[in-house]
Symmetry: C2
Subunit: 167 residues, 2 copies
DNA sequence: TACCACATTGACGCGAACGTCAACGTTCAG
DNA sequence: CTGAACGTTGACGTTCGCGTCAATGTGGTA
């Protein structure tokens, strides 16, 4: 390691990949596909990922794993979203105000669409969860009925509640 | 159409695929991969899908699209689950009672695992939803700030609540 | 200055999940 | 009994999302 002084801000591809739980190949591939903007480099050419880059990478993972989008779809969304960065990075009253507003509306639309999709998925997942819980109940019924022996129950799914965990 | 008298019980591949929103190729592929048991056939060899088959097909879709499992994983789950059918279809006290119980426990375990996965996903999706809603708020802020003109708001995402819809 | 872990760019490979012919058989309405 | 619609089995093709070399360059430590 170059330095152990707590937190460094820029990561090279190795650590970046490790933290993001992806492979180096995958990161390069995302860059190649335009999902990630070419990150800054060291003189030698080594990639240096900024915290913003890391955020974006995490975003990609979420969109892919949670919502099941293809990389192409994700690219579109991120591109539309990028208006955010174009705003943060100073943008004065140089481009048409109308154009800005248009981009913002686009971004808003895309984001809203994602939310709606999440809602739909969550609804379906909830009802699927119910079905599964019902099945568990039936399994338990059968297991109790067909086994005279006594066995302590370990873990059963309760009615409502969500569990949160990172890694 | 062969018959328009309300509901037929068995569908051939064309209608089956249409109703399931899949292609015929996909159904055959699933069969080929062991995800679907070989359905009954007409004399000529045409596949006839029973309502149970259709249910199973729907199950596969859910596991794939909602939870993002691979077909191989889905096969495993369905195989484990199949104890359900083995029960429904008369099974007397011929096989070891112990063996039955073991299979049931397996099935229960698999199902429980699915539930846990759903819970995890839903938790993550909920937090992602929050982030997105926050972004929408910022977009609206900017849009209002940078546009003096008045514009009625159409649809904004509220705090909690899930929307349900089938097709 | 030498070393070694780490990185870079090609380029080819690969499994999953189907798409897409081609050649041929089946059903059924007319 | 004929024709159009529908289905069957191969078999090869395709896209996506990376994996896996190979040859070569970099960067910090000893």
């Amino acid at each position: 390691m170059t330095d152990s002084t707590s937190q460094e801000r820029f990561l090279q591809i190795g650590e970046a990949a490790e933290r993001a739980q992806l492979t180096q190949r995958t990161l390069r591939y995302y860059e190649e596909k335009g999902l990630l903007a070419p990150p800054t480099r060291m003189e030698g050419g080594f990639r240096l990922y900024s915290p913003e880059d890391m955020e974006r990478i995490e975003r990609i993972r979420q969109l892919k794993e949670l919502l099941g989008f293809s990389l192409a779809e994700i690219k579109e969304m991120l591109d539309a979203e990028d208006v955010r960065l174009q705003i943060r990075a100073g943008w004065r009253a140089d481009a048409d105000a109308a154009e800005k507003a248009e981009k913002l509306r686009r971004a808003r639309e895309v984001t809203l669409h994602q939310i709606q999709l999440i809602d739909q998925k969550m609804a379906k997942m909830a009802s699927m969860r119910d079905e599964l819980a019902e099945r568990i109940r039936k399994y338990d019924e059968w297991l109790l009925k067909h086994s005279e022996a006594a066995a302590a129950n370990a873990d059963a799914p309760q009615g409502e509640g969500t569990a949160a965990a990172s890694s």
